[in-house]
Symmetry: C2
Subunit: 410 residues, 2 copies
């Protein structure tokens, strides 16, 4: 596998170059011109190595080779082809390319597999053009609702439906049944965090994708003159918020990994140096791989916040507007990936994913697991998104070894 470095670099440069954005990075959004060029280019590549290609109704691209012994058992691997605006060269794209290169490598070296292998280039995951994410995987598993996109339009006012039809695609036939042949789904992706970089590992075997809860917290106190209002008379919402955030994040640290807690957005009124702030809204984002722990922790924080508000005479409203359950990966597939990595002598660790991926849609339906490669500085969704080529190659090796086990071993 000595020349894999050059092959990987060349393929990443090719795909990320389709939609190169003059303002930085790659912008290739669902159904746009570059998206069409990318899908068609991938289709040609898949066909050139002997795969049978097809698009489904919405534009997910499949490249398939039949299994010799178990053709109705499909080992699927791939990721999404769309990017965010000014995205990096690897998010989604590396997963498709590595899947393609793995299948190419395996068929060249071992010929036809026992089970069918399928590379997938999914239409959409990021939700960057229209306010809808996971359009590709949700269509595959029959949970994309036409009604949710029927009125959607992009920033330029182009309607979702028109963009889709102009690209030659349409809604799925709702009576079409779900696929029953997929025996396993494996997705390789950049980590988009800095865990592997900090632990010095080159590959991650993902055993779980976090669940997340998001909140808006609104505090109503009293705006008062910062000079003439003694401390004892105040209902200061920034003070209340500070107590809440300080206590909550202290508890999150104490609770320990994999729990994460973020207060990313703060809005203060009147937001003036010399007025005690009477109105503050802030957000909370909490994630954990375990639904029970996530629920228990957020319940405790909600109670703490209410107690603090009550003690300070401040009105509080806690609006929990997002609830996504954690998605455990298939332990069976995780075991296969671990064994494959061990046998291939790779420098890997088992870990969870703190971000969402297509695999969480698959995992509910078919045995699924993921592989991660490190992200330099944890940076993603940014032109600076990067992974060392040697780490991309180690990830590809892990995927090859994993797909080999799943598709070639009896």
């Amino acid at each position: 596998m000595n020349d894999l470095s050059a092959v990987v670099e060349e393929h990443v440069a090719w795909l990320s170059g389709i939609g190169a954005d003059p303002t930085g990075g790659t912008t290739r959004l669902l159904y746009d011109e570059n998206w069409q060029i990318a899908q068609n280019g991938l289709k040609a590549k898949f066909e050139a190595i002997g795969l049978t290609t097809s698009f489904d109704a919405v534009g997910n691209l499949f490249g398939r080779i039949e299994g010799s012994h178990y053709p109705m058992e499909t080992i699927m691997t791939g990721s999404h082809v769309d990017t965010v605006v000014n995205g990096g060269a690897l998010d989604g794209q590396f997963g498709i390319l590595a899947s393609y290169l793995a299948v190419k490598y395996l068929t060249e070296k071992y010929g036809q597999p026992l089970r069918s292998m399928e590379v997938i280039s999914m239409a959409e995951e990021e939700g960057s053009r229209f306010p809808y994410a996971f359009w590709g995987s949700k269509n595959i598993w029959g949970i994309a609702d036409k009604a949710d996109v029927l009125e959607a339009a992009d920033a330029a006012g182009i309607k979702f439906v028109d963009a889709m039809r102009d690209a030659g695609f349409d809604f799925k036939d709702e009576n079409e049944g779900l696929r029953k042949d997929i025996k396993a789904f494996v997705e390789i992706h950049i980590e988009q965090g800095s865990v592997l970089e900090k632990t010095g590992k080159q590959v991650g075997v993902v055993n779980s994708i976090v669940g997340q809860k998001r909140y808006n917290i609104t505090l109503e106190g009293e705006s008062n003159h910062a000079g003439t209002t003694p401390m004892g008379y105040r209902k200061d919402t920034v003070y209340a918020m500070s107590k809440m955030i300080n206590e909550a994040i202290d508890k999150a640290h104490h609770h320990g990994d994999p729990l994460v807690l973020t207060f990313g957005h703060v809005e203060v009124q009147p937001n003036t140096v010399n007025v005690v702030p009477g109105h503050t809204v802030f957000t909370m984002d909490c994630r954990h791989t375990d639904a029970t722990e996530l629920a228990a922790f957020t319940k405790e924080i909600e109670a703490d916040m209410k107690a603090t508000a009550n003690k300070m005479g401040i009105k509080i409203e806690i609006d929990n507007w997002m609830n996504e359950a954690p998605t455990p990966m298939s332990q069976e597939i995780v075991n296969v990936l671990e064994t494959a990595c061990t046998e291939a002598g790779l420098n890997f660790q088992v870990m969870h994913s703190g971000a969402g991926h297509d695999s969480q849609i698959f995992a509910v339906n078919v045995p699924t697991a993921m592989l991660f490669v490190p992200s330099i500085g944890g940076i993603s969704h940014n032109p600076a998104e990067a992974t060392k080529t040697e780490d991309l190659v180690e990830g590809l090796k892990a995927l090859i070894a994993s797909i080999h086990k799943l598709a070639y071993e009896d």
Copy 2:
């Protein structure tokens, strides 16, 4: 003094009606048409009760009656005629009207005073039209710098100099000496806080105006993915800010009155629910009547903030952009006011002012003290600014008794 209620109400309605703003309250800004109408209306009123009137170069209005025994000893009383945008009916205005009514009452009842009495309607205090406050009192005491307003313009682009000249005024002759005849200055003003309301007093004798220090604090951490960045890897500036504010305000409460501490303005970047916030700027406003305590407390808070930032690996910049020293009132005049209130049987207390007033400019130059009347709900700089008429009358009685002591007693 039974009919003082009606007199006070009528005068407040008259003056606050000049500049009544269709969007609420009173908007009467330095040198604008309503400002000119108000100053000329006051001049006519002053003259109608036998006062000799004059404007100084910049538009401060004086109404004077000579003393019979000590004409070169002037007891001055008054406040500022300008309002904020959508201001209330009392801020500044009540001080001028009460001073005028006190002098009217005293001359009608007791005739010519031993010392000269002067009512002053100062041109400007709020800094609401141009970015310059205390234009009136600073010109009286020779500390207004021409250079600071020469290029200033209002929101409509009208230059300070043009507005001033169009109203018939101009810069003061810099060679003109300061007045040496003012023996005492007394200003009555609404409290703009809720201390008197909470303590149930109708009059405050102000013995000090707080000093204040204002800061911008800038925290630089790292913006990271809220899902993929474990708590231990974060440099979260909202968490750091929360620790700092929580600790600082806890300490302010522990320190006790008259210290006040406010974090009124917060700006977070990127300010997104799912990104660990890597950049936060917030303000701090700290006030105290004692310069040494103010300096010691803010020094301690600055050290705390730096220690917290260092512990969390976050860069901090603390910019102290305002330093105003506390201004003690004249103990001699405070004693006169206290005695006058006691003798008049008023329900009063001695207190400090948490807001700035023209008196702080006078106090550096001549013996000065202030009287406060309660503000309902502590509300000011707002159309809802109000004081019970009975409290306005008690304030007027306190001013009458005080000026009587100063101008009529030997």
